[in-house]
């Protein structure tokens, strides 16, 4: 959604041509991200003529400030979509930056890894808005991601297993 999409597209902006195809996954309730993604990919195609991408939507796993218990239910519901989708895509690398949508996708990928079907590298980049505290997605994925990147030094101190590269968006 919104800010998350803008941030993730900036993260992708300097990646080489080898990162292809890119599979974008976002919430079904998100009306604006598709246009942003298409605009970004159009520009990317000007430099990398062979770049490929796909777009997929899954149900939104959590509304802002939704209660914990109902969030677990809605996230499990989203997994009914994310699990077959992740199985179909079998990604080598998952890059996410915090919207609730990333939790069911990453959990699906972890499950596929545990079952020996496909092991993906999970890279989580916490939003630049997070200076002192982690988002809920961040708190969960800090333990389950392979690389957890923060953009402010205070978070690096609080979460020592994280990676700090400075501001990257």
């Amino acid at each position: 959604t919104g800010g998350h999409t803008t941030e993730i597209l900036r993260l992708l902006s300097c990646l080489s041509e080898s990162y292809s195809p890119i599979h974008y996954i976002f919430a079904d309730s998100d009306k604006m991200s598709e246009a942003k993604i298409r605009a970004f990919e159009q520009k990317r195609a000007e430099t990398f003529s062979n770049s490929k991408f796909t777009l997929d939507r899954i149900p939104r796993s959590r509304e802002v400030r939704q209660s914990w218990t109902s969030s677990v239910v809605t996230t499990l519901y989203s997994m009914l979509y994310s699990l077959p989708l992740t199985y179909k895509l079998k990604p080598d690398l998952i890059l996410c930056n915090g919207p609730g949508t990333c939790v069911p996708v990453c959990v699906s990928a972890l499950l596929l890894g545990l079952l020996g079907i496909k092991r993906a590298i999970i890279v989580y980049v916490e939003s630049i808005c997070r200076v002192e505290t982690l988002s809920l997605s961040g708190k969960i994925l800090y333990y389950f991601s392979d690389y957890f990147i923060v953009q402010w030094p205070e978070l690096k101190e609080k979460y020592p297993k994280s990676v700090y590269l400075g501001r990257i968006v």
Binding site: G2, T133, L165
Partner: protein
């Protein structure tokens, strides 16, 4: 005005921006190199949304005030004290990711 698709044009023409503490508004304004006064309404915003505005203020990139001190801030502000906001560096992320994935 109500909602526009993009404020880019208005930002380009502005000499000063007065905004709420939303991250998108702050960053977009700072990246265009415009002086920014952030008005914080603690009652409306939840805590995490203030983190960025507070940090930007600590780093000297924005002026901060609340609704009741806005006029006074505008009257007494010295915009030359604001520090420029360097852009983020996604190239550092690309370098890092290349190592992680094994492209070198």
């Amino acid at each position: 005005f109500r909602f526009k698709d993009s404020l880019a044009e208005d930002l380009r023409r502005a000499d000063l921006v007065i905004s709420h503490a939303g991250a998108g508004s702050c960053l977009e304004t700072l990246e265009k190199g415009k002086p920014l006064v952030v008005v914080i309404n603690e009652k409306l915003m939840n805590n995490h949304q203030l983190e960025l505005a507070k940090q930007l203020h600590r780093d000297g990139h924005v002026l901060c005030c609340n609704c009741s001190t806005l006029v006074e801030t505008l009257q007494s502000m010295d915009l030359s004290t604001l520090k420029p906001f360097p852009p983020g560096q996604p190239e550092k992320f690309a370098l890092f990711l290349d190592k992680v994935v094994g492209f070198q």
